[in-house]
């Protein structure tokens, strides 16, 4: 870089630099920016307001530097616990004053706190966090399975809370919910999915106290119709999700007919006792409904239901997965629901070419179409879709095995905006088809699992023409070899997820190409018989961002590569080592050195002794969240280590 140009860029005022900086979208771009010079780093420090932390050891430093932080995400950080939290908090009393001044400042402006899966965090840590962040608006504590009423009470001190996710806080009962309902006066969105202890009483109180709630998720709760009666009294509710409520029936839904005047979105999928008559009453009362998800709720779409659908002029999304549907239904939908953007027909019985043709003749704005397991559709239907729905973004055709390369030709000719296509188990897809498909240059997600007829030639086209791909699924594509990976690693620099499981043609050379995919974070490579340690070592050394690695049944991978893994792949959060030939020593190395490992599957490790497991678990117990072990080990491992794991909030699955 010449001195002249340096002068130019530094002569920009700070607000201009900030503007430039804000154009950067991806994390890696921002990282490069930070590394340019001090000035750029400063711009980054004052502009960045969101932080997603992986390594807790850097947290104090980061928090001191980023003074404008509004959002803090601990969801990928396994080591967040009371001790860590206490370290970050401003201290009163004897501590040096100047220090405490700089400490607390990060918390003052914080609005969003993501603590999803922070199972190590306890009540006191959470309470302390809530107390130091006065402006907190959004909190996510989903999947903190141990959380209950006390934690809810702690959260309720955040009086400005607007959005709260408590999915799977298993100990949460009505008492805790009441705390939140009473104290958090500005609450708008609340998710209580899988909070199994909640009853009608809690929901009733919530509805009375928080009449301004806009979004409520009571999925999988064992609430009865009384709850819906109370929910019906909420004047501002816009979205109601009640997936899999086993006790609620049509009488409950009838309460909603005259309640919730603002309702726009409704999810009643997997409610066993709900039939179309209940849904009809909901639809009758809410002609402004935009989203309706009724998957797996009723076996057949009856004519009265279809008749009611006519009233929904604004319907944008409908999912009726798993029900029986007739051709006439499609004509009704296409005639009346003109603004439909997404339709889900996964596993619907009765979907055929005629039906689809009728559907797309009216719903020309469709963006997302899910035809998973609609076995009887053929190229004719896909041609009609491609011809009518030019704005199609996502098309799921899993197991539609009648379609051939002609469909792909049509799609690639007309649907140029296509970003995601699922062709899993479509035997008609071949190299020619992929060549056609590759002209959809915006493709981001491509699933080709079980497509036996594709080879390196087809994937070469994808690799060279689709640079935006970030997810590629090649599960059991036995026809492909190392050349495919060469093309993909060369062309698809943004690839983040790759599935190579059981692609038996892949060797170490292929994995060396994988090693050049620097953005790769998820790699599934089960059962690669020809791959040895060298291949894995190349991946470990190259893919610095790797966080999820599945090595099940990689029999020939030896210890040397595990050492490499332990040395290089520092960001790994999930690993599956089942059926690998790993030794005691290597396992200990892997488990101890991968300091961010949260989930490990360790079954059928024939070369590992009980002592090896014991040591490995001891080495990782600080950060591990979930571990799958061979069942007999439950008697062989010491109770001490098991208790330690349990106390840390780690779940052990015995296989």
């Amino acid at each position: 870089m010449s001195s002249g140009s340096t002068k130019n860029i530094l002569s920009f005022t700070e607000d201009l630099l900030i503007r430039v900086y804000e154009k950067l979208s991806s994390g890696s771009d921002r990282k490069s920016w930070r590394l340019v010079c001090r000035e750029f780093l400063r711009v980054d420090l004052v502009t960045q307001n969101h932080l997603r932390v992986l390594r807790v050891e850097f947290l104090p430093g980061l928090l001191r530097k980023y003074t404008r932080l509004q959002s803090l995400d601990f969801s990928v950080c396994p080591r967040i616990d009371d001790g860590t939290v206490s370290m970050l908090l401003p201290r009163h009393g004897s501590g040096s004053e100047s220090d405490s001044l700089s400490w607390g400042s990060w918390a003052r402006g914080l609005k969003c706190l993501v603590l999803s899966r922070a199972t190590g965090l306890g009540f006191f840590g959470l309470e302390a966090l809530v107390h130091v962040c006065p402006l907190l608006e959004i909190v996510d504590v989903s999947y903190c399975c141990g959380f209950g009423d006390r934690e809810a009470a702690a959260l309720s001190h955040a009086a400005g809370l607007r959005v709260l996710k408590m999915d799977k806080c298993l100990n949460l009962s009505d008492v805790g919910l009441a705390k939140i309902a009473v104290r958090c006066g500005r609450l708008e969105c609340l998710s209580l999915k899988w909070c199994m202890e909640i009853t009608d009483l809690g929901i009733g109180l919530l509805c009375k106290k928080r009449v301004d709630l806009k979004s409520l998720d009571i999925s999988y709760l064992k609430v009865r119709n009384e709850s819906l009666h109370s929910i019906a009294s909420m004047k501002k509710l816009e979205v109601l999700a009640m997936v899999g409520c086993p006790v609620v029936d049509d009488f409950g839904l009838q309460f909603l007919e005259n309640g919730c005047p603002m309702l726009q979105g409704m999810d009643v999928s997997r409610c066993e006792c709900v039939s179309s008559s209940g849904l009809i009453s909901v639809i009758k009362g809410h002609s402004g409904l935009r989203e309706l998800n009724a998957s797996y709720s009723f076996p057949e779409l009856c004519t009265t239901f279809l008749h009611c659908l006519k009233g929904l002029k604004h319907l944008e999304l409908i999912r009726i997965d798993g029900s029986r549907i007739s051709e006439t239904s499609f004509s009704v939908i296409s005639a009346h629901c003109k603004s439909l953007l997404e339709i889900g027909l996964s596993k619907c019985v009765g979907v055929n070419n005629m039906g689809i043709m009728q559907l797309v003749s009216g719903c020309v704005n469709l963006r997302i179409l899910n035809l998973t397991c609609c076995h009887s559709i053929t190229d004719a239907a896909i041609s009609a879709i491609a011809d009518s729905c030019r704005n199609l973004i996502c098309l799921k055709l899993e197991s539609c095995d009648m379609i051939t390369e002609k469909s792909l030709y049509q799609l690639s000719s007309f649907c140029l905006l296509l970003e995601e296509i699922d062709l899993t188990d479509c035997h008609g897809v071949n190299d020619k088809g992929l060549k056609y498909l590759s002209s959809c240059s915006g493709l981001q997600c491509l699933k080709l699992g079980l497509c036996m007829n594709i080879s390196d030639k087809g994937l070469f086209n994808i690799g060279s023409n689709c640079p935006k791909i970030h997810e590629l699924d090649l599960y059991r594509c036995t026809g492909i070899g190392d050349e495919s990976l060469a093309a993909i690693s060369k062309g698809c620099k943004n690839l983040m997820k790759l599935n190579l499981s059981y692609c038996s043609g892949i060797t170490d050379r292929g994995l060396e190409y994988v090693g050049h995919m620097h953005e790769l974070s998820d790699l599934e490579m089960r059962g690669l018989e020809k791959v040895t340690g060298a291949g894995l070592a190349a991946v470990a050394a190259g893919c610095k961002r790797l966080s999820d690695l599945d090595l099940k049944h990689c029999d020939k991978v030896d210890d040397s590569s595990f050492w490499a893994l332990a040395c290089h792949a520092k960001n790994i959060r999930q690993i599956n080592l089942s059926y690998c030939a790993i030794s005691d020593m290597a396992l200990c190395m892997v488990m101890a050195n991968l300091t961010h490992l949260q989930d490990a599957k360790l079954v059928h490790l024939n070369n590992v002794s009980v002592e090896g497991f014991e040591l490995a678990l001891r080495a990782c117990f600080v950060q591990i969240k979930k571990v799958k072990l061979f069942a007999p080990l439950s008697y062989l491992l010491s109770s001490e280590i098991l208790e330690n794991l349990h106390a840390k909030g780690c779940k052990i699955r015995w296989d």
Binding site: F124, A178, L201
Partner: protein, 496 residues
């Protein structure tokens, strides 16, 4: 209801009413309503009241001075004005009081509970009196409203209603006096069926919730004007006697007449006849029996007939329970909680049914035996939240205590140590930072003793049960002492 049975002889000082006047009032022959004075009553305003009051008073045998207060008839605007300005003053006073409380709350963050409850009681009392006066003032307008109604002969029920509505009327000449006359009954009898009293009922529910419980054996449903009933006053000994029915032969005592009859069979065949065993029937008397009401023998008690605001008790059982509850030692202690004491054994039994199990607590300190009752309470009151029960929070605080402190759990416990279990975020932070250094004595930190310092975990009735606003404030101000008092001190030493 045989008076001979209950009121054994001379012990009862009955104020025997004028029988004829009473029957005249009570028999309710339809033609009675044809009586010119009563027809007058529905068309004109004043005279019927006069008449009404006179009837009452003559039955009553009350003093003449009472009569004179009752005789004020006209709606008097100046009196009304007086009344209103008095009310205004009173409300201002109240406002000052509340201001004072607010100011005081800022200062004494440390122990808000006693002070505030005391003030609350004061406030409640004042509010109640204001409400009473308001109603009486408003009630004075009622007759003029009534007068516009068509003159139909009022039914008996209506008459009763009017009696209720009209009763406060004498208070016209001043709100304060009203307290001393019958009008003062209004706030205490929530079930009155007239319009004005309905609002009283609502207010009562909010303000005098605790009072209601005490009044439960009162004759809430009725508003008998004094003198329309016979007052019986059993003696203390009679009330406290374990038995009320005695065998005339052997002298054995029984609580129930039926038991006595069963016992009598042993004294001879003549007692075994169906007639002797049958429940003694009340003779169907041709003349209507007088309504009986009971007075508590304890002088100075509100239930004593000499009390200014006397409220009669409905049955002899009410007297017994009232006397035991209010004027006797609470000698029955609950064997489960060892804290609750009762003087009536039935109360103890009722309590024991619920004691210990399902304690549903509100942050205000109120306890409920049922969850839905608690949630109903929380729905009604702004800012109240359910409190997390003692057992639960203890269990959560000290998980390592429960799992027998072997080595493994000691380590596990150390992770919780950073915050002492007093739920104070601030004092907790002092003693943090050290994750490993304090494994030596987890039990000390988690011991329930610490809760004593915290206050509120131990006993239910104290308002800042776990985390109400006030308790939070309390923690902010005075929490540092806490961590210096106990072992948490060691931790902060470790830090340095």
């Amino acid at each position: 209801m045989d008076p001979n049975n209950r009121l054994s002889g001379n012990e009862l000082r009955n104020s025997i009413p004028n029988q004829t006047a009473f029957s005249h009032f009570n028999t309710q022959h339809p033609q009675k309503w044809e009586d010119p004075s009563l027809i007058d009553y529905s068309t004109r305003i004043e005279p019927p009241f006069q008449g009404f009051n006179q009837v009452k008073i003559s039955q009553d045998g009350l003093g003449n001075e009472m009569r004179s207060t009752y005789k004020i008839q006209d709606w008097d605007p100046s009196a009304m004005l007086n009344n209103l300005s008095f009310l205004e003053q009173k409300i201002h006073q109240l406002q000052e009081l509340v201001h004072l409380i607010v100011g005081r709350r800022m200062q004494v963050l440390g122990r808000p509970d006693e002070f505030v409850t005391q003030q609350q009681q004061l406030l409640n009392a004042d509010l109640t009196s204001i409400i009473v006066q308001l109603i009486s003032t408003a009630g004075s307008l009622l007759p003029s409203v009534k007068s516009t109604l068509p003159a139909a002969p009022p039914s008996v029920g209506q008459f009763g209603q009017l009696g209720g509505a009209v009763f406060p009327l004498p208070g016209l000449n001043g709100g304060v006096q009203l307290q001393n006359t019958n009008g003062s009954k209004v706030p205490d009898q929530p079930n009155q069926s007239d319009i004005s009293a309905n609002c009283v009922t609502e207010q009562n529910l909010n303000i005098e919730e605790h009072d209601l419980k005490e009044e439960e054996d009162a004759d809430e449903g009725e508003n008998l004007p004094p003198g329309t009933y016979e007052i019986l006053q059993p003696e203390k000994e009679e009330i406290l006697a374990p038995h009320t029915h005695f065998c005339t032969i052997c002298g054995k005592g029984f609580k129930r007449d039926a038991n006595l009859r069963m016992h009598m069979r042993g004294h001879g065949d003549e007692y075994k006849t169906p007639a002797a065993l049958a429940k003694p029937h009340k003779e169907p008397s041709s003349e209507p029996t007088l309504i009986k009401r009971y007075s508590c023998p304890y002088s100075g008690c509100k239930r004593n007939k000499d009390h200014k605001k006397f409220q009669p008790l409905k049955t002899i059982l009410c007297v017994k329970n009232h006397y035991k509850r209010t004027h006797c030692d609470k000698s029955y202690t609950c064997s489960r909680c060892n804290t609750k004491r009762f003087s009536v054994i039935a109360d103890l039994k009722t309590h024991e049914k619920h004691c210990g199990k399902d304690k549903w607590l509100c942050s205000c300190g109120t306890t409920f035996s049922r969850k839905d009752k608690l949630f109903g309470h929380i729905t009604l009151f702004q800012g109240h939240t359910p409190a997390i029960s003692v057992e639960e929070s203890k269990a959560l605080v000290g998980p390592s205590d429960q799992k027998e402190g072997n080595q493994g759990t000691n380590k596990a416990g150390s992770m919780n140590f950073n915050f002492p279990p007093n739920a104070t975020s601030d004092s907790g932070i002092q003693s943090i930072m050290d994750v490993k250094g304090n494994t030596d004595d987890p039990a000390g930190i988690f011991s329930p003793l610490n809760f004593d310092n915290f206050g509120g975990f131990g006993e239910f009735p104290r308002p800042p049960f776990d985390d109400s606003e006030s308790s939070f404030a309390f923690l902010l101000s005075g929490s540092y002492n806490y961590s210096q008092k106990n072992e948490a001190d060691d931790n902060s030493n470790n830090l340095a």
